[in-house]
């Protein structure tokens, strides 16, 4: 396989994915019909406020939605040419870890407290490689070295509570990547870390990606991180992707009012603090979604139509589209320089 081919091949294709959580009181439509593609070696950002369904999307891709309440009710997830929703639970074990893997949100709790790092790492490696003990050991040491753990030989016998948060996060990364999956999902992997360690970690992920051609789905609520890390971005709101496209396109011409608001809430160096603002109001409950546009109650451009009918998708450029009634040939979103915050909290 040549390098050019790797860069263009689609590795993951998600269409109309719906994942609902059935609680006694209501049906929570955590993921409500999302579609996106991921190419080999590409980084796709998924951005959105907390509670909009990002983690549930990630867990759906691994078919690890919390059971029995959560269920994937519709859609297709085609990974390496096969729809994993058609696979049996036994077949899924060959998919998890080897084809697609995930780095969880909280490194502090992602490692099992009663087993050593070496044990947990060898377990992950053992799933892909049936080998003798000593070659397993050297694989484990290599895996730790790859994520910049100093003196990895000595670290293998440590328990998680003996390590720092940053180190734990890198070990979690090593475990997730130990079977060399083609796709890795990083679910807000740095929210629990301080800023310097965050940057180190993001750089490390990028380095590993450059070496291995890994495709990354990077989940965050921070557009600043998206600008640094991602090639493309999907903006999620209340269980749907409301806008997606190349990072460059979305930053220069954000179309959906929600995307505009999110981008404007990223602190910029030249801006004084009172230019920052957050969006007023709350997203709708996923258990009680409105008929029309889910952003309407918070949107300064909302019309009657917005409340009645869910907006159709509007194509702005190749691969850049957004779900919003206000978009048409005359108005295709606001270039960011002219953008005025739509709500009144700005100074």
């Amino acid at each position: 396989m040549t390098a050019v081919q790797t860069a263009t091949d689609t590795i993951l294709e998600v269409s109309n994915l719906k994942t609902y959580i059935f609680t006694r009181a209501a049906t929570v439509k955590a993921v409500d019909g999302i579609s996106f593609n991921l190419k080999k070696g590409e980084t796709l950002g998924i951005v959105g406020e907390s509670g909009c369904g990002k983690t549930m999307t990630a867990l759906s891709l691994l078919r690890l939605v919390p059971r029995p309440a959560g269920r994937i009710v519709e859609g297709e997830i085609v990974l390496n040419g096969e729809d994993i929703l058609q696979k049996s639970e036994d077949e899924m074990r060959d998919v998890r870890g080897r084809q697609i893997s995930m780095i969880l949100q909280d490194p502090q709790t992602s490692l099992n407290p009663v087993f050593t790092i070496g044990n947990q790492l060898r377990e992950a490696l053992g799933i892909a490689h049936k080998e003798n003990k000593s070659s397993m050991l050297s694989r484990a040491v290599d895996a730790l070295r790859k994520v910049n753990v100093a003196a990895p030989e000595r670290r293998l016998d440590d328990y998680p509570h003996q390590m720092s948060g940053g180190m734990k996060q890198r070990v979690v990364g090593a475990i997730a990547m130990s079977c060399e999956p083609g796709v890795i999902i990083a679910d807000e992997p740095t929210t629990a870390l301080d800023v310097t360690i965050q940057l180190q970690y993001l750089r490390l992920l990028k380095e590993i990606q450059a070496e291995t051609g890994l495709a990354i789905i990077f989940i965050t609520h921070d557009f600043g991180v998206v600008a640094r890390m991602c090639d493309r971005v999907a903006v999620m709101y209340a269980g749907r992707i409301i806008e997606q496209g190349e990072v460059r396109d979305i930053f220069s011409r954000p179309a959906h009012p929600y995307t505009q608001a999110l981008i404007n809430s990223v602190p910029k160096l030249e801006q004084s603090v009172d230019r920052l603002y957050s969006i007023d109001g709350q997203p709708p409950l996923l258990s009680n979604l409105p008929e029309g546009c889910r952003f309407a109650p918070r949107c300064p451009y909302a019309s009657d139509q917005c409340y009645e009918e869910y907006p159709s998708s509007y194509q702005l450029a190749d691969g850049h589209h957004a779900d919003c009634w206000a978009l048409d040939a005359d108005w295709q979103g606001t270039p960011i320089e002219e953008f005025v915050p739509p709500t009144g909290t700005a100074g």
């Binding site: 691994l62 690890l64 919390p66 029995p68 639970e89 074990r93 060959d94 998919v95 998890r96 870890g97 080897r98 893997s101 995930m102 969880l104 949100q105 909280d106 709790t109 992602s110 490692l111 099992n112 407290p113 009663v114 087993f115 377990e123 992950a124 799933i127 328990y159 509570h161 003996q162 979690v172 475990i175 997730a176 130990s178 079977c179």
Partner: protein, 306 residues
């Protein structure tokens, strides 16, 4: 780890010493031993004689030192209600019976409670789980003697599978062991279930599944050991439950163990034997707790290093 064990053993020895002192003090404040040793119409000489014989004429601190000295040599004193027997002899005769009964009850409860607790956790909110819950609630609200009597009525009186009481072959021990273990099964099962549910929901279990670890290994490797930590703390209490339970159950089934002995001793107001058995029960309790703590540290590395 070794330092930790040593520290726990030292604490245990201190605790046992305190227990010796308390049992000694209790025996003195619970009534004048002379009232038990002598008839009411005893003469002054008789009193003096008995006092000298039992060392009661000496000042209290001397009595205490004497008591400790004897204990140190393994001498628990002459039984009052059993002529020509020492408390040590009485205990040595009955101890194996109580140990047998408690050990069997403990094994029964562990073997049933842990797997069933894990199972109902995995099968949460299915009929399986509801039956388990009902069983646990019944088990924890029924008094031990009632469970003993019900088992006796069904399996010994009605079905004639086992003898009603006494001792002899294995057939005698089964009902009392079940009755004694029943309470623990219920409690342990509930604890195992709830801590399994908590552990099943953790991020590290998610990571294990993400790695592609097979589900049975997720449950029995990643969850079980973590989930054991809570029920294990309860094992320290089980010592107490078994001891109080054995007093009741041994009496119900006329099983000749320490519980049976101590009830008799209380009826005969034999403070020497009561004191000796209480001391033994308390010591057993301390030892069980040390063993639990060591096991606890073995299972949870975070305890070892702090």
């Amino acid at each position: 780890m070794q330092a930790y064990i040593l520290r726990r053993v030292a604490q245990g020895i201190l605790a046992i010493f305190v227990i010796c002192t308390v049992t000694f003090a209790l025996a003195r404040v619970s009534g004048d031993p002379l009232n038990v040793l002598l008839p009411e119409e005893a003469s002054e000489e008789q009193i003096a004689l008995i006092k000298a014989e039992w060392g009661l004429d000496k000042p209290i601190h001397m009595q205490y030192l004497q008591y400790l000295g004897k204990l140190f040599r393994g001498d628990l004193g002459e039984a009052i209600a059993w002529p020509n027997s020492t408390a040590t002899e009485l205990i040595v005769q009955r101890l194996p019976n109580t140990v047998k009964l408690s050990a069997l009850a403990l094994i029964v409860s562990g073997v049933i409670a842990f797997p069933v607790g894990v199972l109902v956790a995995i099968k949460k909110d299915t009929p399986f789980d509801y039956v388990g819950k009902l069983f646990a609630i019944l088990g924890q609200s029924a008094p031990t003697f009632a469970v003993g009597l019900i088992l006796m009525w069904i399996f010994a009186v009605q079905l004639n599978f086992f003898p009603t009481s006494g001792s002899g072959g294995v057939e005698y021990i089964i009902l009392p062991a079940l009755a004694l273990g029943y309470y623990n099964v219920a409690a342990l099962m509930r604890l195992t279930r709830s801590s399994m549910l908590e552990v099943l929901d953790t991020e590290y279990v998610k990571l294990a599944r993400i790695k592609g670890v097979p589900e049975w290994k997720v449950v029995w490797k990643h969850c079980f050991r973590n989930a054991l930590i809570v029920p294990l703390t309860y094992f320290g209490l089980i010592g107490a439950v078994l001891i109080t339970g054995s007093v009741v159950i041994e009496t119900v089934f006329a099983w000749p163990g320490l519980g049976h002995l101590v009830i008799k001793a209380i009826l005969f107001r034999d403070y020497v034997v009561v004191q000796a058995v209480v001391l033994l029960f308390a010591t057993a309790f301390v030892i069980i707790n040390i063993m639990v703590d060591v096991l606890y540290a073995y299972i949870d590395p975070r305890i070892r290093y702090t």
